[in-house]
């Protein structure tokens, strides 16, 4: 009554592939040679350095994280810092982030600085991100910094970032609301005001990070239509979720993000294998879209 097993092989880079002699059903799937891990390089737009305050992660030291990313074939990782959530001295946090990227991941880690537009003299933090640390983007955590997206300083920040050609990453949530520490319950960012904001700044390039948990596809589609808005897939769930997302949004607006080291890297990578996507779309999501975004208009 039982059928042959469907063995799975984890390749050198940790991706999944059907093993030789696998079941007919598995063999009927895509050619493993076409799967992303085999030939496709990755650009990961959702990586963090430093430490999460509530627990340790296996790869939460820069050297370990870099080793993990390189092992999986990541050629570029946009790295923010957990310090950007709760630290008030963001200039210090950004300087450490830049130094750690230089020290541990030259050519791989791209530092993405933190800016809190409610702090005094925050434009100086933005200036240093660009002029001192040569960061190509900034990462915002409005819910940890206590402002809504209708705040005038947020609009000012977006305007300045657009002027300077920065990619702006807006992080919607950091963890499952049901699982938060009782002393650190942080609701997701309400993105309702964002579409109007995006329309004000035609040059703004915005990436929604960890948005898939709380922002539904219809709202995402409206945001994407409003301007140069992108979304990454770390918190995308549901079986075949990437197929659905690619049907709802232009595929060139979907980026690969693993949320390492908080999430296992394999979680995001495996979504490209789970969903049936044309090879060109898979390559675009895995790396090409992010490269094009960072290269600028």
């Amino acid at each position: 009554m039982t059928r042959p097993v469907s063995p799975l092989r984890v390749g050198r880079r940790g991706f999944l592939q059907a093993a030789a002699g696998a079941s007919a059903a598995v063999a009927a799937g895509p050619d493993p040679g076409q799967l992303p891990g085999n030939r496709q390089e990755w650009v990961d737009v959702n990586v963090y350095l430093s430490r999460w305050p509530m627990r340790r992660y296996p790869n939460d030291q820069p050297a370990a994280l870099v080793a993990c990313l390189r092992e999986h074939g990541v050629v570029q990782a946009w790295a923010g810092t957990f310090e950007g959530l709760l630290h008030k001295d963001l200039a210090g946090a950004n300087a450490r982030l830049a130094e750690e990227c230089r020290q541990h991941g030259p050519g791989l880690l791209v530092p993405i600085g933190s800016v809190n537009p409610l702090l005094p003299d925050w434009p100086e933090d933005l200036r240093r991100c660009v002029e001192v640390h040569r960061m190509p983007g900034i990462r915002l955590h409005p819910n940890y910094h206590g402002y809504g997206l209708d705040h005038p300083e947020f609009a000012r920040l977006l305007g300045l970032a657009a002027e300077r050609g920065l990619v702006v990453q807006l992080v919607v949530i950091m963890e499952d609301e049901r699982m938060m520490h009782p002393l650190m319950r942080v609701p997701p960012v309400d993105v309702a005001p964002l579409a109007a904001m995006v329309k004000r700044f035609a040059d703004l390039r915005l990436v929604l990070v960890n948005a898939m948990r709380t922002v539904r596809e219809a709202a995402l589609a409206a945001l994407v239509r409003a301007g140069q808005v992108y979304v990454e897939i770390a918190m995308l769930e549901g079986v075949g979720g990437l197929e659905r997302l690619a049907a709802a949004l232009p595929a060139e607006r979907i980026l690969f993000g693993s949320f390492s080291p908080m999430f296992y890297f394999e979680a995001a990578a495996g979504k490209l294998q789970e969903s049936e996507l044309p090879a060109h779309q898979r390559r675009a999501i895995a790396a090409e879209n992010a490269k094009a975004l960072l290269a600028g208009p």
């Binding site: 995308l236 999430f263 296992y264 979680a267 495996g270 294998q273």
Partner: protein
């Protein structure tokens, strides 16, 4: 590395298809892409927190239809509501004793430490069926009938001969794993939460690899994101093999053999 993979926790919801058969077929297509050979399936196409006897029967009928189409790929677990004790016992007999199902699924109708579960657990144990109980500990507040991992530990202590699976490892797994740690007849099942790095390492450290199971909670969850909890964990290869299939096979072997199914 090659792995055999059995998924301990999937559903017919969250998957495209107009019939149970279509949905399971679609789910299996995704499973094939990831090399998952077996799925445990439970609950029907429409759920309710506190199903009536008629709803239970309908949902179980849907699962029976689906697994009948793919008997060599899917195992059914019978969905029960302890609030309806006799109806649940009847369903247990219909679907497990007299049917092809091989386990029991309990969700959020009644907290599982309550005494109304006892006759169901006793009967499941007689039939060699493991009991998979949803467990979650939410800082946002549990549903009235939603079991915590501590509730399951209390139930398991009353039934040392029964086999329990703590679905979701309690949700808040750092607490849930501690709660079930003293209970040798409770297995931690990894599905349903975000793929937070470290969950599997902690489960193996605290329970041993022999008490940890891979499950996905698909279609609500991505098969891949949940599989990553094992494939990405810093644990040794024998441990991964046990978690991905070996432990579930061992749990199900007695009831499968009683039904003449060799694995």
């Amino acid at each position: 590395m090659s792995y055999e993979i059995w998924d301990a926790h999937t559903h017919l919801s969250g998957v495209a298809g107009n019939t149970p058969e279509e949905r399971l077929e679609k789910l299996l297509r995704y499973a094939d892409r990831l090399g998952i050979s077996r799925l445990c399936v439970f609950m029907g196409m429409r759920w309710s927190y506190d199903p009536s006897p008629a709803e239970l029967r309908q949902q179980n009928d849907e699962v029976l239809r689906a697994v009948k189409r793919f008997p060599d790929r899917a195992f059914g677990f019978v969905y029960l509501n302890p609030r309806h004790t006799q109806a649940s016992l009847d369903e247990l007999n219909r679907c497990v004793r007299d049917g092809p199902m091989v386990g029991v699924k309990l969700w959020v109708a009644v907290r599982c430490h309550e005494a109304v579960l006892d006759p169901i657990v006793r009967r499941a144990t007689e039939l060699l069926a493991p009991v998979l109980q949803h467990t979650w500990l939410k800082i946002t507040g549990n549903l009235p009938g939603e079991s915590t991992p501590m509730d399951l530990a209390a139930l398991a202590a009353r039934h040392p001969q029964a086999t329990f699976i703590a679905a979701h490892s309690g949700g808040d797994w750092e607490v849930g794993l501690r709660a079930i740690r003293p209970c040798p007849n409770v297995w931690a099942e990894l599905c349903g939460g975000d793929p937070v790095a470290g969950v599997t390492e902690m489960a193996v450290r605290e329970l041993g690899a022999g008490r940890v199971l891979y499950g996905s909670d698909a279609g609500g969850r991505s098969l891949a994101s949940q599989l990553a909890k094992v494939l990405g964990a810093r644990i040794d290869e024998p441990a991964k093999r046990r978690i991905l299939a070996g432990n579930l096979k061992a749990i199900l072997r007695p009831i499968l053999e009683s039904k003449g199914i060799r694995i």
